[in-house]
Symmetry: C2
Amino acid sequence: MTDSPLSRKLATFVALSDTELAVLDSLHKRRRIFVAGRDLVLQGQTEQAAYILCSGWACSNKLLQDGQRQIVDFQIPGDFLGLRSVLLHISDHSIEPVTDIEVTEILASDLLDAFAHTPRLATAVLWAASRDEAMVVEHLVDVGRRNAAERMAHFLLELGARLSLVGMGEKASFACPLTQYHLADALGLSAVHINRVLRQLREAGMVTFRDGRVTFDNYEKACAFTQFDPTYLDQHGPLLK
Amino acid sequence: MTDSPLSRKLATFVALSDTELAVLDSLHKRRRIFVAGRDLVLQGQTEQAAYILCSGWACSNKLLQDGQRQIVDFQIPGDFLGLRSVLLHISDHSIEPVTDIEVTEILASDLLDAFAHTPRLATAVLWAASRDEAMVVEHLVDVGRRNAAERMAHFLLELGARLSLVGMGEKASFACPLTQYHLADALGLSAVHINRVLRQLREAGMVTFRDGRVTFDNYEKACAFTQFDPTYLDQHGPLLK
């Protein structure tokens, strides 16, 4: 159990001691399953728990009153779901499982206790939250400043880097359960536009997304095309020894 | 000194003890001044410090190779500058003073030491980072899903709520040094468009931005217009007693 996707991810930032790993383990007590498409956190909900995603994919999104939806980010194993909501007393977003998912539920009190007793763990979680924020910043740049093809390429390159860190595929080839509707709501494009952009990237010899698998036909070309600089994902090795 | 904008902000989340306030004070040792328009953190820079903003306004932004710029957020007194960069080993963005600013420099080692000795402070900083992330998420929704007038109104309402928390004006009336160019780069609009949108909001009786001051002529109307729900700013009072 000690080798969870979360411990693997946090180990990128901090070399966790046995005590710290044990505390992290103890947070993995309450296992729960949620099925695809049924929200596990609702925007505006108070008093909810946070979750650690153990298997499957989820997405966080904001709903507007007129029915529009902006997907903020996708979560993969090792990611927190609703951590911000616990700290901010209220959920400012909804979380929906993209596939069936398995999570462990963490009560706010358990989390704050763990932080009080293992401050290095708190720092590691702050690192993970900073990394999540850096991804949201990139999505803001995607929507604000990159054209449709650049957005898509940047987004898929980011996914590959994240998945390879937690051992779920290679950065240039990975299984991906996202539909064109997920991509559309994340990238601010229509579903029709998504198909056109994917065809364009495929015909340019950069990346193919087919039958639930993303394969970069020319990884370097895709990186150059969208100016992908993965340093914001900070996968260089521990800052805290 | 104990009553700094940062301590006032963190007190919203956690009732800080005298020891914790003293540690926070001790982080305010190295005062530095930066003049408007000269970056204090450069995108791609490594090994830099983080700063706490004591007076003045700054903005964090991402530069693209083609010269485009996306402003991610503005920082006001009590905000961290470059906290994410310290944790992520490298700065994924630049920080530019909007006005002349006074900051205190914090070395990564001092910050990590402070966290290790006062874990509640680490949790409070995690709260502040979560709140910053919630703002970036709103900016993503602004650019991805809100029209120009809704974006502008939402942005100005957010600023008012933030400024009032640290005692720099009222939520419905505050001094604001931002130019149309700052607003354009933050909201993904042209400077000309900014002027048109501000006129539209003024003529609708919602908000006037003139001579460096934002005044909501009808605060409730502006909130309803842009569906402003300030819960993501979490200004309700301490979760941690």
